[in-house]
């Protein structure tokens, strides 16, 4: 029985996320109840919006402690967009705010200039490729099974995750000539900066891979 628990802390439109996981999971539940999250076998933490209000929602429902316990129990967790950013230690979005600290690193604003000194749009909105080293059947990670470097996914973000350890960067994308972490992973914890539920077939493969972990 493949059951996915999607956390609803009041910030995002969950319909597309729910529908995407519905395709591959036997059961999808959407909840803000920390007891249900505590019993979950796989957790998805979605999110659109600002870091501070996202964390406030998480704390309000008592989900922060539960998520840390879930990590210890080796329950796979996938954060999407803001959900990914909240997995990190802290964010500098409109100040300095503590995150869940499930992956070591910070969340910082995308630079307004490219590596070559030209102005670039922030937020980054649009399709961009996933880049990673192919090792055997997939990249270094099961989440990438069936994906090849150069496959496109859909991004909408103004802030980027910077893991302290390069080995936590499972895939990156290039924006303005710089590498931006697209998928982070540490043990059972994963994060996608892009929206897999809006990234066509490539996104669905990643969702399927997470369901099959």
């Amino acid at each position: 029985m493949n059951k996915i628990t999607i956390i609803d802390y009041g910030l995002s439109n969950l319909l597309s996320v729910v529908r995407a996981f519905d395709m591959f999971a036997d059961d999808v539940i959407v909840t803000n109840d920390f007891r249900k999250v505590g019993m979950a076998s796989k957790i998805v933490l979605p999110g659109v919006g600002a870091f501070e209000s996202g964390m406030k929602g998480i704390i309000k429902y008592g989900l922060d402690e539960i998520l840390i316990k879930c990590k210890e129990k080796q329950v796979p967790i996938l954060g999407i967009c803001l959900g990914m950013q909240m997995l990190f230690d802290k964010s500098f979005e409109n100040g300095e705010y503590e995150g869940l600290g499930l992956i070591s690193g910070t969340v910082e604003k995308l630079p307004y200039n490219t590596l070559y000194g030209e102005r670039q749009n922030v937020p980054q909105i649009g399709w961009s490729t996933l880049e990673f080293l192919m090792m055997g059947r997939y990249g270094s990670n099961k989440l990438l099974e069936g994906i090849i470097p150069g496959d496109d996914v859909y991004f909408v973000h103004s802030y980027e995750c910077k893991p302290y350890s390069q080995s936590d960067v499972i895939a990156y994308t290039c924006y303005g000539g710089r590498k931006v972490c697209a998928i982070a992973g540490y043990e059972n914890i994963y994060g996608c900066q892009f929206h897999p539920e809006k990234s066509g077939k490539t996104g669905l493969k990643i969702i399927k891979n997470f369901c099959l972990l």
């Binding site: 439109n13 597309s16 919006g49 749009n121 859909y154 539920e197 809006k198 066509g200």
Partner: protein
């Protein structure tokens, strides 16, 4: 460089996708969900749904169509037509849209743009502009499917809307809409040169040459309708030809 996007534009009236010429003489094309699924399977990058009769009823009737689309379409969706308040926008986003296109509502009350951007982020506010060329060569912004004129110069209006916080422009040439007679590159170039935000262009696309020309004129995305609806091209073929010409676009 950002990838160029190819967008399918679906004008919807009474549960049917329709297409007219210069917004007039609407013909039924088919079921919106069947068409959008077909275009999604062929690799379209985004879908724009426009409720063509929304202004008459002062409300958008597409929410149920979008909700159904989220069952099997996993790319960004933009919805426009008849959205007048932040609550209208919220309901559309809850139905599964990622962005909303605003025209009449913004012309009447430009502060609506700021209100939506504050509530949901500027990335989800798209300004829909219906441009019609006047005899003196100046482009004027129209609304209600190109029937009513606002008296506003298109370039001035777009610059003003950017100040209010719009995140993207969806530009349609009313003169070219549905004609499949080629795009208005002069209009596209003027608009793209006057703003730093992405511009989606539409109206008159007859061939891959047009899409290529629009990209060279500065467009970030091209929205097509007739050439898809009438089966003149399929999306794979368009994208293949664009890539052969060096356009960076998702396969």
């Amino acid at each position: 460089m950002r990838k160029i996007r190819l967008i399918a534009r679906l004008d919807v009236k009474d549960q049917y996708v329709v297409k007219g010429i210069q917004f007039e003489g609407l013909r039924k094309i088919g079921n919106p969900n069947q068409l959008s699924l077909k275009y999604y399977e062929e690799g379209i990058d985004e879908i724009i749904y426009i409720d063509t009769v929304a202004s008459l009823y002062e409300r958008n009737n597409l929410n149920y169509i979008v909700k159904e689309a989220t069952n099997d379409i996993f790319i960004p969706m933009c919805v426009g037509g008849g959205l007048r308040t932040v609550d209208d926008v919220r309901n559309t986003l809850i139905a599964g849209a990622d962005k909303v296109a605003i025209n009449t509502g913004a012309l009447r009350n430009p502060k609506l743009i700021t209100k939506i951007a504050d509530a949901f982020g500027s990335q989800c506010v798209v300004l829909s502009v219906q441009a019609k060329k006047k005899k003196d060569g100046i482009y004027e912004a129209y609304y209600d499917n190109g029937r009513e004129h606002s008296g506003k110069n298109v370039i001035d209006w777009i610059k003003e809307a950017v100040e209010y916080g719009v995140g993207e422009i969806f530009l349609t040439s009313v003169d070219k809409d549905g004609t499949m007679s080629g795009m208005d590159f002069e209009l596209i170039q003027k608009v793209c040169n006057s703003v730093n935000i992405p511009v989606i262009v539409s109206g008159g696309t007859a061939s891959v040459d047009d899409i290529f020309g629009a990209v060279n004129a500065g467009a970030s995305a091209v929205a097509i309708a007739s050439i898809l609806h009438y089966g003149h091209y399929n999306i794979l073929e368009i994208k293949k030809q664009l890539r052969e010409r060096g356009v960076d676009i998702r396969p």
